[in-house]
């Protein structure tokens, strides 16, 4: 991934800045600029997610994509944030500790690296709350 491509979403990746629609009250993370409920009648503004949430489902990744292979095996989960939206993220805990329903909170961590470019990507992971 190029530096600009990562950089342009850095506030979302580092600080969980998403969006919220003032028309219908729905929260969006990852951020959306078009509200699927209201479409052109929506009114989108930035929203700082608190990052607390719950594990909806998870896996332990044993075979990873390029850039993530140094970290295997690692837990990956779909987290339902307390504001409602769901996101995909890694949970930093023992592989046998993760469970559906587990409460989590955000933590700033190294996400992956681009071997060829030597760039290290940081972002949000989760830890047991």
């Amino acid at each position: 991934m190029s530096v600009p491509r990562f950089w342009r979403h850095i506030s979302s990746r580092y600080n969980l800045i998403g969006t919220r629609c003032n028309t219908c009250g729905e929260y969006y993370f990852p951020p959306r600029t078009m509200c699927p409920n209201c479409r052109r009648d929506g009114s989108i503004e930035e929203y700082q997610f608190k990052g607390y949430g719950e594990v909806v489902t998870y896996t332990i990744i044993h075979t990873a994509s390029e850039g993530f292979d140094m970290q295997t095996p690692y837990p990956l989960a779909i987290i339902q944030l307390d504001e409602d939206p769901r996101m995909t993220g890694q949970v930093v805990c023992d592989n046998d500790e993760i469970a559906i329903g587990m409460r989590v909170k955000p933590i700033f961590r190294k996400l992956g690296e681009d071997g060829a470019a030597g760039i290290i990507y940081y972002g949000t992971k989760f830890i047991p709350a």
């Binding site: 489902t57 896996t59 990873a64 390029e66 989960a77 972002g123």
Partner: protein, 387 residues
Amino acid sequence: MARDVAIIGIGCTPFGEFWDRSFRDIFVEAGVAAIEDAGVQGEEIDELFVGNMSAGRFVEQEHISSLIADYAGLASLHTPSTRVEAACASGGLALRMGVLAIASGHADIVVTAGVEKMTDVSAQAATDMLTAAADREWEGFAGATFPGLYAMIARRHIHEYGTTSEQLASVAVKNHHNATMNPKAQYRNELTVEAVLRSTMIADPLHILDCSPLTDGSATVVLAPAETARKYTDTPIYIKASAQASDTISLHDRADITTLDATVSAASRAYAMAGMTPADIDFVEVHDCFTIAEICAIEDLGFFEKGTGGKVTEEGITAIDGDLPVNPSGGLKACGHPVGATGIKQVVEIAQQLRGEAGKRQVTGEVGMAHNVGGSGGTAVVHILTR
């Protein structure tokens, strides 16, 4: 449909890892076989549609619409050729574009093909390329892989419905058994539940033997208006429904993690188009890119109640001699999964079955269904076919 459409020719390469054969070798082989089967001349072909996910990354070749027309010998005729892409549903989508071209009255003879050459890159590079079918920014960059996404569907299915790893494995065992009777299948060996459970873990709870392989292959179907199909063949296969649906690209945004709403929606549109219900379908080729995917598919297509897909598979109801044969070809799991070719190969299998040309894996029935999925469920394509 405005004008009914029939299949008048089919062709398919063997599926496997072909180090000695190129991208263009395999699509020419499938195309020539289908055009010979249909007995059409190059001048008669009005349009080409080809499904392909990622030639740009797998073989560093884009613009394959031109390449295919060229190497099929149609360049001097300047036949219109179009590539369509919806990840692993590219093949099903190409067929649907061909059906629409004829149904609308715009074209008469249409060749629809699917092709993928996946083994010219390393397995790890291929894993990354397939991750492009998910949301790269918010799934891939978080460390998700394709098996990882389906593993999260499986984990939730286990949690909600008590589905077991043995039931997941029984999908692979069944499909490998069917593939022993398919000379074109990539894997023609029997499996046991124990062997699946002992195999390397890829993304818990999915083992490597829960996953479809990386495959090279191509398949082609030739279409004509139903009213003239008998000019070309004694055994036209009629397309009663061609339906497509989309959903969120990310698994995390789905209304329900264990339901592919794109499948539910495409199926309900297909049943309405054909004037049929799930009870009218005699056999089905479903998109079993992972064992859990077949379990979700047979539920979401309306054949079995949500949550019971694992149990009915373990009980043999979806076996080749069961009440509803599922994946008589061996499916993606054992026949192989050249992603862009899969949707066309499924329809080749159904046409062979309906013609009574499926050899040892022949099933009985008048109505077959093909179900092709893109990504983790962002696209689904469903076709219903009859004799």
